[in-house]
Amino acid sequence: MTVSATVSNTASQAGTKTRFSDLTQMPDARGHFGPYGGRFVSETLSFALEDLENTYASMRNDPAFQAEFDRDLAYFVGRPSPLYHAERWSQKLGGAQIWLKREDLNHTGAHKVNNTIGQALLAKKTGKPRVIAETGAGQHGVATATVAARLGLECDVYMGAADVQRQKLNVYRMRLLGARVIPVESGTRTLKDAMNEALRDWVTNVDNTFYIIGTVAGPHPYPQLVRDFNSVVGREARIQSMEQIGRLPDALIACVGGGSNALGLFYPFVEDEEVAMYGVEAGGDGVETGRHAAPLSSNAPRGVLHGNRTYLMSDEAGQVSDTHSISAGLDYPGVGPEHALWKDVGRVNYVAANDDAVLEAFRELTRMEGIMPALETAHALAHAKVLAPTMRTDQHIVVNLSGRGDKDIMTVAKLDGIEI
């Protein structure tokens, strides 16, 4: 087994002036997180984004909207999700106690549904009869198809053709739910290309279509509202930590592709300086090989894609790079702009976990705790394996168990040489 994770350079590029409390005030009125974020879209979409921004601004502090959101999270999603003490695994690793925030137990099997519930409520307010989404691993697509079925909305999901191949189970789930899954053949045939195609659809059908973006990226206000809807994860984890551990945890770990499950867990802890945070990117074959999807921990240059400025893997001419990851959900060259800022100010340590370490963590948790994680989630677990042994047994780590692994059984079986 090769080295499983590489610690990133967390040196602050934006200086040390930003206080962590300032981080709760982001984004600014124009959707900027320091130098990142913004609204870099073609003019046709500007009005739809302004409209969404206004709708969300009026809903955000509306008690009736919040109550409806909370009710759906409780009775449709099944929240709160438990905080589970992985005692056996903690003991084996021989260091800190590991607690798993069980987002895998949500309806549809991942954190993604927190956001789609919220955006579906917004879609309902706007009265648009159709929703579209992009998806990588298919979790966001399934979560979107689910809320669309429940609200009786037409639903089209764009998915890279390569991902359609490696996530067949989720593709069929979406179809059973009544969604149309449109394979995208352009570019690298993965998540970024699905997002390009979803944006092209939206620009064409903007009058009757609500675009449910699945991660904390895209043009303002998406990074903000996706973060807000997922923050229920961190709010619960905070309360549960106080109840079950008796204090705040020493560290949080979550995987980062676009970064929605990580922001959801981290955001409510951002001012708690004593809580260390680790965002784990897809190291693929290893950051040093260039075959990865880790823009933050590889110190990719700044760039603009899909409506926001962020760390973006691109070549010297500014063409977006091909990415590689065992997990379709993390196979993306950019990252949410709020993560980019949090890297610069040193609030979060961004590291990468390689494919082989991820598989090992996947197998280990499954065998030791009876919990089969998604391959995306297994990136966070791979880093827990690195971090826990460096800590004392009376210290505590909360890992966001962002999704369940059923969808990845075929991928893992294939690696084992088994045809199902």
């Binding site: 003019e43 009005f47 691109s314």
Partner: protein
């Protein structure tokens, strides 16, 4: 007076409308681009929009997506466009050239370096599809100080308020996107376009040029009755695609397509 301003002033005196072809630089290979540009001018182009190939052209339909792929496969970079334009300028010092593309290649080489090199090569205007005026605060002054016109899009969905902002920031001409969709989509509706251009006329003296959905002489002529200029892209690029294996025939085909439009517009 900038080349773009001069060109529109000349056209106005002649009572003609601007014909503005778009091609993606480097398609089907970089060595053909300068020849195509001269051919377009011979066929009646007043301004040339030269596309900067990008890996993720989100506002473009399949025709220009594929053009970008062909150009990138041949290794075309933004800096190569500056060489092409420098070469073009050795024999044509009057036809305005507008670079059209996405922001990331410009971000990567840096705004200052971009403005320096573009101005030196003889670029006249810059249209960045994914950069509305609100996000142009940093690059805007640099373009201005290099005498590069910042050209912005106006869409059918643009509110009156936003249109006013765009008019205040725009230079050279306004690019009115005739339909909701990507490039090369449906055919436009000239009455609909006229209806949207009327309020813009009251806001600005900038020439109003219309693109997206112009396929042939008929649509070009219809639009030129209500607009100051007609922009045609996918109709030309699809010819390049069809003859990518026989690039020596492309210049002639581009001339035929553009000539038909020119004739129809001037009739």
């Amino acid at each position: 007076m900038s080349r773009i301003k001069q060109r529109f002033s000349d056209l106005q005196q002649q009572g003609r409308k601007a014909l503005i072809p778009y091609i993606t630089a480097g398609d089907p290979a970089p060595e053909h681009t300068v020849g195509f540009m001269h051919a377009l001018v011979e066929a009646g182009a007043d301004i040339i929009e030269l596309g900067v190939p990008f890996s993720d052209p989100m506002a473009d339909g399949p025709v220009i997506q594929k053009a970008c792929e062909r150009a990138l496969k041949q290794g075309t970079r933004l800096v190569d466009l500056f060489d092409m334009i420098t070469t073009f300028r050795q024999t044509d010092t009057t036809t305005p050239i507008v670079l059209m593309g996405y922001l990331n290649p410009i971000e990567r080489i840096g705004y200052q370096a971009f403005a320096d090199q573009a101005a030196r090569a003889g670029v006249d205007g810059v249209l960045i599809v994914d950069m509305p005026p609100e996000e142009a605060e940093e690059i805007g002054p640099l373009l201005k100080s290099h005498q590069l016109d910042a050209i912005f899009l106006v869409a059918p969905t643009t509110s009156h308020e936003r249109a006013a902002t765009i008019c205040a920031h725009g230079e050279g001409y306004l690019y009115y996107v005739s339909l909701k969709g990507v490039t090369g989509a449906a055919t436009l509706n000239a009455d609909d376009v006229a209806e949207h251009l009327a309020p813009l006329r009251e806001m600005t003296d900038l020439p109003l040029c219309v693109g997206f959905g112009i396929r042939d002489g008929v649509t070009a002529a219809e639009v030129s009755k209500v607009a100051d200029g007609v922009i045609v892209g996918s109709a030309l690029v699809s010819r390049i695609a069809a003859s990518a294996d026989a690039p020596e025939t492309i210049a002639g085909q581009l001339k035929t397509v553009l000539n038909e439009m020119r004739t129809a517009m001037d009739a």
